[in-house]
């Protein structure tokens, strides 16, 4: 038991470090527009791709490196030490890519995967709908066959990056007369197609990280179908499995931040860190933070041995989203009424505690609610049976949707 790389891993890590040191672009900290961010992200991604550092575990012929999972992890560890643009390709490369790799034709893979890896084309995922969130298979966006095309009508929601994406993967209902999992069909779609309208959603944090996407008579060639007609659920599962692997811990203030705050703020005229009630809470958060960190190490050890980690990663999201919410809230409690100030000039720690308080509710929901993740862990990890299904075997159009 140690924290060390194997000799081969160490050698790989050294190579990564050398390349990163030589190639990470300088950046001045000034705030930038979204367009500028995208430009910068694309430029960095292209640079990586050209040197063979994009989508490491993808096959070389599709723009990857044919690297092992642990090599991917090592790359991520090293890259994350730098302030390089990240995130806008995550859904494409993390979820759309694997789906395309599994279900697209060889020609399509050659056409779409390399530009996806290089960041030349950005992809998004069009799954959730207003009436189909936790119950994704309850989606109703309609796909109707029209000659060699499909006509799509409906609405998707919670689509990150829809407005700057070139392509999207889309799951639709092609047959409402069969049970819900059986009537779905999966496509990829050109986001510039006529009939697609995109509206940003403002979150309670004030940010707009998501969109609503409306489809009005959008035409998709049948050749852009992934998987068989009616087999869209199985294709979606491929995507979602990859989502769960991609789900990391929440950003925002963590133990170190609340520890620092407690050292720097007073309660009853002494540093808050001297207050035993504060220490008690800090200790709990430290143990959780550490527990997640070492759980991740265990997962990486499994990768290192060539094993595939299970959906245990869901633990991280459940624990860290709640912790984030609690830390945000408690940080403000220590600041008392002054804690509500969100004025740049007077708030502490760049407002990270207020940000956590407003951002954490979204984290407890996006990518699977706390409740859905508990179901997943219960069923996939612990092997507990499913809940009774009211909609089992019922034709989709006969499933109750209101009272």
């Amino acid at each position: 038991m140690d924290f060390n790389d194997t000799p081969a891993e160490a050698e790989f890590r050294a190579e990564v470090r050398t390349w990163l040191k030589a190639n990470v672009p300088h950046r001045d900290k000034a705030a930038e527009s979204e367009a500028e961010l995208i430009r910068r992200a694309k430029s960095w991604q292209a640079k990586k791709a050209d040197a063979g550092w994009a989508c490491l575990h993808w096959q070389k012929e599709y723009g990857g490196r044919s690297a092992s999972p642990i090599e991917s992890v090592i790359w991520q560890q090293e890259e994350s030490k730098y302030d390089v643009p990240a995130g806008i390709f995550a859904i494409g490369q993390g979820m759309c890519g694997p789906t395309m790799a599994t279900y697209a034709t060889e020609e399509q893979k050659q056409r779409y995967l390399p530009p996806m890896a290089r960041g030349d084309e950005i992809w998004c995922q069009l799954f959730s709908e207003p009436a189909a969130g936790s119950d994704l298979a309850g989606l109703r966006t309609k796909a109707e066959k029209d000659g060699d095309d499909w006509i799509i009508n409906g609405q998707k929601i919670w689509t990150s990056g829809a407005h700057y994406s070139d392509y999207g993967i889309l799951v639709t209902r092609s047959d409402p007369t069969v049970p819900k999992h059986q009537g779905l069909t999966f496509f990829f779609v050109d986001m510039k197609s006529p009939g697609i309208e995109i509206k940003p959603i403002k979150q309670i944090s004030g940010a707009s990280n998501f969109n609503e996407v409306y489809f009005t008579d959008v035409r998709i060639p049948d050749a852009h179908r992934l998987g068989e007609v009616g087999d869209g659920w199985r294709v979606s599962i491929t995507t979602l499995m990859n989502e769960r692997l991609a789900v990391g811990s929440a950003g925002g203030p963590d133990f170190a931040d609340i520890f620092r705050l407690a050292q720097n703020i007073e309660i009853n005229d002494q540093p808050a860190i001297k207050d035993r009630a504060v220490r008690d809470r800090l200790a709990t958060w430290y143990c959780e933070t550490n527990g997640l960190k070492f759980t991740k190490f265990r997962t990486q050890s499994a990768l290192s041995r060539g094993e595939t980690p299970g959906p245990e990663a869901s633990i991280a999201k459940i624990v860290s989203a709640k912790k984030l919410q609690d830390i945000g809230s408690f940080g403000m409690d220590l600041m008392e009424l002054g804690g509500i100030m969100m004025d740049e000039n007077v708030m502490l720690e760049d407002g990270m505690f207020q940000g956590a308080f407003l951002g954490a509710p979204g984290l407890r929901i996006a990518g699977g609610t706390d409740e859905i993740l508990r179901n997943i862990i219960a069923e996939r990890v612990l092997g507990l049976p499913q809940d009774i299904r009211a909609d089992k075997g019922v034709s989709f159009n006969e499933i109750p949707t209101s009272r």
Binding site: A131, N268, M335, I340, M341, M342, D343, P361, R389
Partner: protein
């Protein structure tokens, strides 16, 4: 045993609720959230016309002298409706401070304006993001002139008068300050809950009129905070109940997997936990109301008890209401966040829960000694 509000008080509640539903719906609250106005002037005028600002102010000072139980009833409804008005600053804080420590003259001078709504008052204690104490309050008073920076001051940008906490040679003292004085600057500041206005106030050799004995400021604040804690606790319970109702309503109408999500135990039991917390808080609030109304010596204990449990209930209820709403819950468009924001404001506005818990145990130690 008559541990309930009276029929008359419940009638007042019905009136208040229907007035607020009409003049101060969540649509009105959103206008304040998204707009530039510091408060809802029309709702505020309506409350004044109904005499609410004078509810617990004795008739000799221009109030209608109904009493604190009635004020508690109104507070609960204000909390439920998230009323974006300076009511609490003027009535729970400023008027309470004057009633607690003011001379007969001061009461006659300042209370009628509050009661009739002609003036708005507030209380300026905090000086940035940390817990205030007699030691760390930097505002200074000398020769009746005050200097210092107070923030955030609730409704500090719209108030006419403030009771200001400042250190003089004799220790922490309170002063009544006319905020229209030229030496005062008040600047609105952005906060977590934009539906309630807060400001940064600068005093620079500003005239202040001593309130109560010099050096007695922390003690007086403690008394004012006890009364205010009960009133805010009713606002918190009102808000907790509204968030619970909202979550329940959504859970009963939102379908997933072919059934209302309210049929899933994860949601069902969450709603029960919200309900249990809210009921416990409500019962403790009744105790607080009784103690406040009867000027009981138990008020310090009752106030801490109801504040802690109402803070807990509102936090849980507003937080889990978002969770029940799923994706829609964390959108700006849905109203869930209005309760979540207000819940946090009310949990820190009289000092944070950790300090109140500490005070509760101190008071119980004293009582048992």
């Amino acid at each position: 045993m008559n541990f309930e509000f009276s029929e008359e008080q419940n009638m007042l509640r019905d009136q208040a609720r229907s007035f607020l539903a009409d003049k101060c719906s969540l649509r009105n609250v959103r206008e304040i959230l998204d707009g530039d106005a510091p408060f809802d002037a029309e709702a505020w005028r309506g409350m004044i016309e109904l005499g609410w600002t004078g509810t617990a102010i004795p008739e000799e000072y221009g109030g209608i002298g109904m009493g604190y139980l009635e004020l508690c009833v109104i507070a609960e409804e204000l909390g439920r409706s998230l009323a974006p008005t300076p009511f609490s600053s003027s009535v729970y804080l400023f008027a309470e401070a004057i009633l607690t420590a003011g001379s007969e003259e001061q009461k006659k001078q300042y209370l009628p304006g509050i009661a009739t709504g002609a003036t708005i008052g507030t209380l300026a204690v905090f000086e940035g993001p940390h817990a205030p104490s007699p030691k760390n309050i930097k505002a200074k008073a000398a020769n009746g002139l005050l200097s210092g920076e107070k923030m955030p001051v609730p409704d500090g940008d719209v108030a006419d008068f403030a009771v200001v906490a400042a250190n003089s040679d004799a220790g922490l003292s309170l002063y009544i300050v006319d905020l229209s004085d030229d030496s005062v600057t008040a600047q609105s500041i952005k906060t977590l809950d934009p539906t309630r206005s807060h400001a940064k106030i600068n005093l620079s050799e500003t005239p202040g009129e001593l309130l109560g004995n010099e050096g007695d400021g922390w003690n007086i604040l403690g008394q004012v905070f006890n009364a205010a804690a009960v009133l805010f606790a009713f606002e918190q319970v009102g808000g907790a109940q509204a968030a619970l109702d909202m979550g329940k309503e959504y859970a009963m109408t939102r379908f997933a997997f072919g059934r209302p999500i309210a049929t899933f135990q994860a949601i069902k039991h969450k709603l029960v936990d919200m309900y249990v917390a809210t009921e416990l808080a409500r019962s403790n609030c009744y105790y607080g109301a009784w103690a406040l109304d009867t000027h009981s010596t138990e008020l310090p204990i009752a106030a801490a008890t109801c504040r802690i449990s109402a803070t807990d209930a509102y936090h849980e209820s507003s937080k889990e209401n978002i969770q029940i709403h799923g994706g829609m819950g964390f959108t700006w468009e849905f109203d869930c966040h209005l309760f979540y924001r207000r819940s946090k404001l009310l949990s820190v506005n009289l000092g944070g829960e950790p300090r109140w818990k500490d005070m509760l145990i101190s008071r119980l130690e004293q009582a048992s000694a």
